[in-house]
């Protein structure tokens, strides 16, 4: 067994007395005679949250969790067991439980499970995780933001601020002899403002973060921008009119509206759905699924981003994967199980929420590459439509391809000009079809601020999205005004 002397490796040795030679016995149990592959996922995680409301830092909470998951693969079958008490004895018990999956299998040669290649990255070297910054400093920042936000507008009635920090150490060891570890810090700061005028109450939210240090928020006073944005959005909504209903041209602003790609395209290109042929994109590699202007990638290798990882949760180094190139579907997002069964390359997208969860193909940072149109030209080209610049969450039905995402800041476009703000409305479309109607792509690609969380099959993982300004010829807008 080859051991790289990574800090994460020595961490589990030091804290739990787990060493390479102990694991060989566990793998022998896990594989039995009939399994193809087994891996262990050790995790240690500390989370801290501090929050302010009504001008008071009322809550501070902290949690510590550690555990290990044992996975056994036999063909398309997965056996899984986990424990939050990391001892060799418990690992043996978990390995026997996970082995159950392979027991009724007829004797045969093990199937090949794809092996990770390439070097792990070093995308988020940090000196002091936000968890280790003195609590007093975080408390002081929250008060500072509260004061600043209230000073921006007299209509601000309440300010909610929260900072969350995660410090996660993982170690993946496989029956193929791989041992790889990673230390994954993650932080997020959020500001929500509630404004009121003549009984009309509105809310605005803004936030950001990533795999970064505390200085990310305070060095350039970025938190002031978060507060300004939250207040601006809430105040804007005070004068927003009812949103229109029906199909119209829609211009999406840069950055977070990239959630369109995540919902409309990304999930449908995850390997598991395509292996099972339950995705609206099944068997469509090489086919046109978008206009020529669209090139979409999933890239887990961008330094410090919320969706980035040095290695995925199966130990595979993350990649930049081209999903759509000039409108043609090029590839899927894979984990080990599905890449092996589909005989396709690993892409470093095997992710899981924690040691208590089975890995599956998930996105990292998903975005469309910049085009050539100046954003002003894109708006000018629309006679009557909707300009949506900020969104809440979205969802997709993988099989029918129908997706939604809900605007939190939007305007009417009239004769090429941005006109009145309208209330949030849900936009609905058909995944395999929506990008074929992208008629202009801006030169202003922007990634989001670092607040995205994606849910699939009950598992949440941090992700990023990005988009240049784009124009979609005809998308259904779910307002109330016919």
């Amino acid at each position: 067994m080859v051991e790289e002397k990574l800090p994460a490796v020595s961490f589990f040795d030091r804290n739990f007395g787990i060493q390479g030679h102990d694991l060989e016995k566990v793998f022998a149990t896990a594989l039995g005679r009939k399994a193809d592959y087994a891996d262990l996922y050790f995790e240690y995680r500390r989370n801290e949250g501090v929050s302010l409301e009504e001008g008071l830092v009322k809550n501070c909470s902290q949690s510590t969790a550690n555990g290990v998951g044992v996975r056994v693969l036999a063909d398309a079958k997965t056996g899984y067991a986990y424990t939050d008490d990391i001892t060799i004895e418990n690992l043996e018990i978990a390995a026997r439980t996970a082995q159950y999956i392979a027991q009724n299998r007829p004797s045969q040669l093990p199937a090949a499970v794809s092996q990770a290649r390439g070097e792990a990255h070093d995308l988020y070297p940090i000196k002091t995780p936000v968890n280790d910054v003195a609590l007093e400093k975080k408390v002081a920042l929250l008060y500072e933001i509260d004061k600043f936000a209230r000073g921006l507008d007299a209509r601000v009635k309440n300010v909610l601020v929260s900072i969350g920090a995660e410090y996660k150490v993982i170690l993946v060891a496989s029956s193929q002899g791989m041992v790889v570890g990673d230390i994954q810090p993650l932080t997020r700061l959020n500001v929500t403002c509630i404004v009121e005028e003549n009984g009309n109450r509105q809310v605005g939210s803004f936030g950001g973060g990533g795999r970064v240090e505390f200085g990310f928020f305070v060095d350039g006073k970025d938190y002031e921008r978060y507060a300004r944005e939250a207040v601006r959005q809430a105040v804007l909504n005070l004068s927003a009119e009812d949103a229109p209903a029906g199909t119209m041209d829609v211009v999406l602003g840069p950055g977070w509206p990239g959630i369109l790609l995540h919902e409309a395209i990304g999930h449908g290109l995850e390997g598991d759905f395509n292996r099972k042929k339950t995705s609206a994109f099944s068997d469509r590699i090489g086919h046109r699924v978008a206009s020529e202007l669209c090139t979409v990638v999933d890239d887990g290798t961008i330094p410090s981003r919320r969706g980035s990882l040095n290695v995925d949760d199966e130990g595979t180094p993350t990649h930049r994967t081209v999903l759509i190139e000039k409108g043609i579907l090029k590839g899927y997002l894979q984990d080990k199980l599905n890449a092996g069964l589909m005989k396709m390359p690993l892409t470093g997208n095997g992710r899981r929420e924690s040691y208590a969860h089975i890995p599956m193909p998930r996105m990292t940072n998903t975005f469309m590459l910049a085009g050539e149109s100046p954003p002003e030209d894109i708006l000018r080209s629309v006679k009557k439509g909707l300009y949506a610049v900020s969104f809440g969450g979205g969802q997709v039905d993988i099989t029918s391809g129908k997706f939604v995402f809900s605007a939190s800041e939007a305007y009417l476009i009239e004769d090429g000009k941005v006109a009145k703000p309208v209330k949030g409305a849900t936009l609905i479309g058909n995944g395999p079809d929506v990008l074929t109607r992208v008629s202009m792509v801006g030169a202003d690609l922007k990634l989001d601020e670092g607040v995205g969380t994606c849910g699939k099959d009950g598992q949440s993982v941090p992700v990023g999205v990005g988009l240049p300004t784009i124009k979609i010829d005809g998308l259904t807008v779910g307002g109330t005004r016919g």
């Binding site: 008071l56 809550n59 909470s61 109450r201 129908k402 609905i428 259904t476 307002g479």
Partner: protein, 451 residues
């Protein structure tokens, strides 16, 4: 590091340790449980997962300031560090006049046996569970030739124990079990591919719906979606099937949560005692129903659980409150404190349901000349501050009182304040399939956006 067993004794010991560190009040939540699930797909076992977990959470007050912490490491050293960290953090937060535990005299004196646990959680074999998952999928796949694929059948069960102790003198625990099975078949016909889902969940293994009927229901649901199309944008009556009507009730429960109200983040602020909904609407929250999924013998602060009238013939009669949010609003807790281990309390409904009305679902559909029968809603387009509502929808078009063709890629929109007022028929088909339940509901007018 030697692991300790979770117990009420350990909880009380931790509270004594915390007092020695200067904490003025505190409470401990402990949870342990075993979880299992198996998924099968196209007649083969696909995933099996089995595990046990323990967590210990502590909240401490220093005067009126507080902090919370939790750990999965239940060793002496770890618990000592937890007490140390929590009391240190509790000194860093603000003094909050409304902070603190409920008064000792309000705490539950008896812990009723609500029949929440089924010994089958320990005795049903893995093979039997696999057979259940296989049977539910097989039933769906066999129902019709157009069902050609499946996202899988699943069986899952959980057995858990919750311990709660507070420095006000409360100490109690209970165990509970849940079982569930489900299937998500995929149907394809004339180029249209659709997926749908059906499930059954219960605290008692023997009370699960038979796998055959769950599979058949899933099959019927997916088949009726084949060939869905858009409709022209219009304003029409919208009939919510019981599952989707349940989502409206979920929205209501969020809007009357004490935390949303005192923060100014609900469209129902100040509406207690006023008419917020149609006279047909009566909503009840009852955590005392024996064997029900949302029942429990005491709430997350050790307070007794009551049956409450939430909406009485359209009038809002009660919010959902714990001690803190109650104090913020000048009211007593309603016994709705819900806890995650290591977090301060939140508020949640127990068994929250819309009382059944007089009409059969068929009568309700027959009353609509042209409108939408909604069977699926997706997305997060509900603004709790304003009540603005806009969600992606799929379902069936109603014409002259009959369900006709499937519709999809549309949205339904309105404002919850008006939607609740516009409920003009309620079905007699209430079934407590989950913690939040409703019968069929008809809203007289909403905007449907399509072409």
């Amino acid at each position: 590091m030697e692991r300790m067993e979770l117990s009420q004794d350990l909880a009380r010991e931790i509270l004594v340790m915390a007092k020695a560190k200067g904490a003025t009040q505190g409470d401990v939540v402990m949870a342990e449980g075993d979880s299992f699930f198996v998924t099968v797909r196209m007649g083969e076992v696909e995933k099996i997962s089995q595990a046990g977990e323990k967590r210990l959470g502590l909240r401490l007050f220093c005067g009126n300031s507080s902090a919370s912490a939790s750990t999965s490491d239940i060793s002496r050293q770890s618990v000592e560090r937890l007490v140390e960290d929590t009391s240190r953090m509790a000194r860093a937060t603000a003094q909050d006049p409304c902070g603190g535990l409920p008064a000792a005299e309000e705490l539950a004196r008896e812990i009723p046996d609500l029949d929440l646990c089924d010994d089958a959680a320990r005795s049903v074999s893995v093979d039997e569970k696999i057979q259940m998952a296989l049977a539910v999928e097989k039933s769906a796949l066999a129902y019709d030739a157009r069902i050609i694929n499946s996202e899988g059948g699943e069986f899952s069960n959980h057995f858990g124990r919750v311990i709660y102790a507070s420095s006000q003198g409360f100490s109690g625990e209970y165990t509970g079990s849940t079982f569930g099975h489900s299937v998500a078949p995929v149907a394809k016909f004339n180029g249209s591919m659709q997926r749908d889902y059906w499930y059954s969940s219960n605290r008692k293994f023997a009370r699960l719906e038979p796998p055959k009927s769950v599979g058949e229901k899933a099959a019927q649901r997916v088949l009726r979606r084949l060939g869905g199309r858009k409709v022209k944008t219009c304003e029409v009556p919208v009939v919510f099937d019981p599952e989707m009507a349940g989502s409206l009730l979920r929205n209501l429960s969020s809007a009357i949560s004490g935390y949303a109200l005192y923060k100014g983040a609900s469209f129902l602020i100040g509406k207690l005692g006023t008419k917020i909904a149609s006279e047909l609407m009566t909503v009840i929250d009852d955590g005392t129903i024996p064997g029900a999924l949302g029942s429990r013998p005491f709430d997350g602060e050790g307070l007794p659980i009551k049956k409450k009238l939430i909406v009485d013939k359209g009038e809002l009669r009660s919010y959902l409150l714990d001690t803190y949010s109650g104090k913020k609003l000048g009211m007593a807790s309603t016994g709705n404190a819900s806890r995650s281990v290591g977090e301060p309390p939140g508020v949640g409904p127990a068994n929250f349901y819309l009382a059944p009305g007089a009409h059969s679902p068929d009568d309700i559909i027959r009353s609509v000349k042209a409108g939408l029968y909604v069977t699926e809603l997706i997305g997060f387009g509900v603004n709790m501050v304003t009540g603005d509502y806009s969600r992606g929808a799929a379902g069936l078009w109603i014409e002259n009182g009959e369900l006709t063709y499937p519709v999809e890629e549309i949205t339904i929109a309105g404002n919850l304040k008006q939607i609740f007022q516009d409920i003009d028929m309620i079905g007699n088909d209430l079934e407590m399939r989950g913690r939040i339940a409703a019968p069929t509901v008809k809203v007289s007018r909403m905007t449907v956006a399509g072409d």
